[in-house]
Amino acid sequence: MSHGNMKITLKVWRQKNAKINGQLVTYQLNDISPDMSFLEMFDVLNEQLITKGEDPVAFDHDCREGICGMCSMFINGRPHGPKNKVTTCQLHMRSFKDGDTIVVEPWRAAAFPVIKDLTVDRTAFDRIIAKGGFISVNTGNAQDANSLPIPKHDADKSFEAAACIGCGACVATCKNSSAMLFVSAKISQLALLPQGQVERVARAKNMVAQMDAEGFGNCSNTGACEIECPKGISLENIARMNREFYVANLKD
């Protein structure tokens, strides 16, 4: 029942490790079902490779329900493939046609070095968060949760920014490899809340400094990140981050 009749030609980036150059390798897949997810198609490919005694394709994935942010494939020139607001794991083969050729590459950015095949190192994101993507409140410090009313509009805006899954699609699609959508989403989430005011200045300066140190590029307002973001994080956040950053420098 699972067998479909789609024939797919895959061109997949294979790279043994960070030190060796990689190249695109072509694979033929038959009997692909339109109900398969994109990653399940890769499961089929890997099963075939293992049967032949070859090394399967390494790729990052975990929850396979669009929320953990681990999956990261650059599909036919677009991060997470042809559909908007969908992660690779939630992309299904019915979005392709029988006979299609699909090119799959890793995220490409100097700050995201390839580890193997389609797997890249995104720990730069963690290091940016560690510089200020938090509110310094130790466990036990908190006051009653309702002692601080927050206008619903602000809470909702903050939530929309907080929906970022940290996948890195914004960086992968940006011609400058800019991480500004990611960084601005966290800065916005906290800047919109009263709890975030105390550390506002230091947060903007420190996170932006780390972003630059990691080698991410600048923003030239092309807006590709917003279109490719699987969670619909708005470009508005970048404007807010810039404001936070300028104000922070003025206050210094």
Partner: protein, 659 residues
């Protein structure tokens, strides 16, 4: 004689925790700086524990197999988190949350732990809001609550359908802050593969760097396992692909007893399997049962499309069997009823392993109400349908979208197909009141332990337990142990215990590569999953469980003879990672069946077909089975049962009926 001492403090249920907190041993700040704690897993329990302990001054190391601690599967929780805040003025209290949790667990959880959980629940919400977690709010700026199954008050806090994500990112931000301050050393893309014990105490771990394949030795005065549940023993579940039992299982083989392994939660509303390519299952929130009606055709093997089947030829089996609760029966009951219909040949869809969840009646009903609200007299049927769809979209739009994304069908037009799926495991490492396992110095937090949910977990309680353990329990209880460790100097990792543990890990890795068989890891995992699902799943019986034990043993033997692991050990090698995890599932699966076979009663998620009432309901046996089954590993896949009797002093034990 039982070796188990639950260490529940004396005194009335309301006073146990507060008295304990005022009398537990403390560690002074100077000593904390020289005490090292290893935390394995970075979900709600692990991240919150690591951040809190580092804030207190301990030296902490955190390990996770994902590329970042933010990916842990707590992130996928949808619905919400319970807390006894009583912000809705509807009569909630610590006692009521305690009572609901004990009853929901079918009277198989420990009173002392559950009361403590209810007590600290309110502080969790305070802490998360202070961290900047954007929980849902009302127009007045106050926090919003919603209802959840098994309760009569509104105590569930939420952030749209992404509550787990927001809470985890809150704990992750606290963790990253400590990493930035140098108080926590983070080891992502590292997998713990062995526990190191010295003179009976946990003293460290062996971890594999998943990028280089290098085995590393790490010392700790205490080791905290926050590694989640083992639902992936079934292959298909709502767990993440990497979720595994390995850390807990290695601990079990080094002396930690495993509690109630057979207690598994099967969630009734998941998107069904579409074929044998399927790699995981996706949950559709329980809230959909509020408005949807569940049915199958009255005729077995009916191949007509759902909209072509007339009303009188549909069997709304939950409404038929449970007129009082209808479509809102609890999770375990709804799941078993769906399985019963499908097994009898009434299932729908290509696989015939699904039932319909139909929104037509709700769309009609809401359409009429909305027409009245808008003042539209004599609306056309098309108008009514549009109005109805609008209302349903406001309430459940994101879920309907997700369904369409996965199945390619529009649930506004055709009924959804759903089927139960493995979701959560109530069983786990046995722990005492301090959350310590039977190995001194080794702790288990969150889903990895067995302690708070009994035989069935209520919705919105898993997030509560994970964060309670990490933020508000372990920071106190770990003092009871570490206060006596202040004279223990860090043990150099060239100690023979570390050397030997590393050798064991290395020899297992070598063994995997030496087999050079013909079948992939997934091949064995799928077969194990099928045995578990068919014979130790929603309904179990003696014959099936005995067969399952034999089949698992045979499969294990085949695994070690015919497995093929490609690639090399000293590189990123997902096949090698999976091989280690499935090897452990192949042992755990047997223990789950042994535990299910031992428990000659039905309770919560454990349903033994031999023990049911005439109406087909679970028949609990409080006289003989009111105990926690804690299994000691005796080596060579042999186990000895230890019983911890459950005493109910604050709550009167009663039958659970939904008729």
């Amino acid at each position: 004689m039982s070796k188990l001492d639950s260490k529940i403090p004396e005194g009335s249920i309301e006073q146990k925790w507060s008295k304990y907190k005022s009398s537990v041993a403390l560690v002074n700040p100077a000593n904390k700086r020289s005490l090292e704690i290893i935390v394995v897993g970075s979900g709600l329990a692990g991240s919150s524990a690591a951040a809190s302990l580092a804030e207190m001054g301990y030296k902490v190391k955190v390990f996770c197999f994902q590329d970042s601690p933010r990916r842990a599967h707590s992130i996928a929780a949808q619905g919400g988190i319970n807390a006894a805040k009583n912000y809705q003025n509807d009569g909630d209290s610590t006692y009521r949350l305690f009572y609901d949790t004990i009853k929901g667990g079918d009277y198989r959880a420990r009173e002392g732990n559950v009361h403590r959980l209810a007590e600290v629940s309110a502080s969790i919400i305070d802490q998360c809001v202070a961290q900047g977690v954007p929980l849902a709010r009302e127009y007045g700026g106050m926090l919003s609550n919603r209802s959840f199954g098994g309760t009569q008050v509104q105590r569930t806090f939420y952030a749209a359908g992404q509550t787990g994500q927001q809470l985890l990112l809150g704990a992750y931000s606290a963790l990253e802050r400590q990493i930035g301050l140098g108080a926590v050393e983070m080891y992502s893309r590292h997998e713990m593969l062995e526990v190191v014990t010295i003179e009976g105490k946990a003293r460290g771990i062996i971890a594999r760097d998943l990028i280089t394949g290098k085995l590393e030795r790490h010392f700790g005065h205490a080791v905290l396992l926050c590694t989640g549940g083992y639902g992936n023993v079934f292959y298909l579940s709502t767990n993440a692909m990497g979720s595994n039992v390995t850390a807990a299982w290695k601990a079990h083989k080094k002396g930690a007893f495993f509690g109630n392994p057979c207690y598994t939660q099967i969630h009734p509303t998941c998107i069904p399997v579409s074929g044998d390519h399927q790699s995981k299952l996706t949950l559709m929130s329980e809230s959909l049962r509020n408005d949807g009606r569940i049915w199958v055709p009255k005729k077995a093997g009916d191949t007509r499309k759902p909209n072509e089947i007339p009303e009188e030829e549909r069997d709304y089996y939950l409404e038929r069997r449970y007129p009082a609760f209808g479509n809102l029966v609890p999770r375990d009951v709804a799941s078993r009823a769906a399985k019963e219909r499908c097994d009898a040949g009434f299932g729908v869809g290509a696989s015939k392993m699904a039932v319909y969840l139909d929104y037509k009646a709700a769309i009609d009903r809401y359409g009429k109400t909305k027409a009245k609200t808008l003042g539209v007299d004599n609306p056309t049927p098309a108008q009514l349908r549009d109005f109805g769809k609008q209302v349903v979209e406001e309430k459940y739009g994101n879920l309907f979208e997700m369904y369409e994304q996965i199945t390619g069908e529009n649930p506004y037009e055709v009924p959804m197909r759903i089927y139960p799926a493995v979701h959560y495991t109530m069983g786990g490492l046995w722990v005492d009141y301090n959350l310590m396992t039977t190995v001194p110095g080794m702790y288990a937090l969150g889903e990895a332990n067995f302690s708070d949910h009994g035989a069935n977990r209520l919705g919105a309680s898993a997030l509560m337990q994970g964060l309670a353990d990490g933020y508000f329990v372990i920071p106190y209880t770990i003092g009871a142990y570490l206060a006596n460790e202040i004279r223990t100097k860090a043990i150099p990792t060239d100690h023979e215990a570390f050397v030997n543990a590393e050798k064991e890990v290395q020899s297992q890795i070598d063994k995997f590569f030496a087999i050079k068989g013909t079948k992939s890891v997934d091949h064995f995992h799928k077969r194990l999953g099928k045995i578990m699902w068919d014979k130790c799943g929603m309904a179990r019986n003696e014959k099936g469980l005995k067969e399952a034990i034999q089949e698992i043993r045979a499969l294990r033997e085949e695994f070690w003879k015919d497995l093929r692991v490609t690639g090399e050990p000293n590189e990123l090698n997902p096949e090698l990672e999976k091989a280690g995890r499935v090897a452990d599932f192949l042992e755990l699966g047997e223990l789950m069946c042994i535990d299910a076979l031992n428990r000659n009663e039905s309770c919560g998620g454990h349903f033994r077909e031999e023990f049911q009432t005439e109406e087909g309901e679970a028949n609990r046996d409080d006289v003989n089975y009111s105990y926690v089954a804690a299994w000691e590993n005796k080596g060579n896949n042999g186990w000895e049962l230890h019983k911890e009797e459950l005493k109910f002093e604050a709550i009167k034990i009663a039958a659970r009926s939904y008729k």
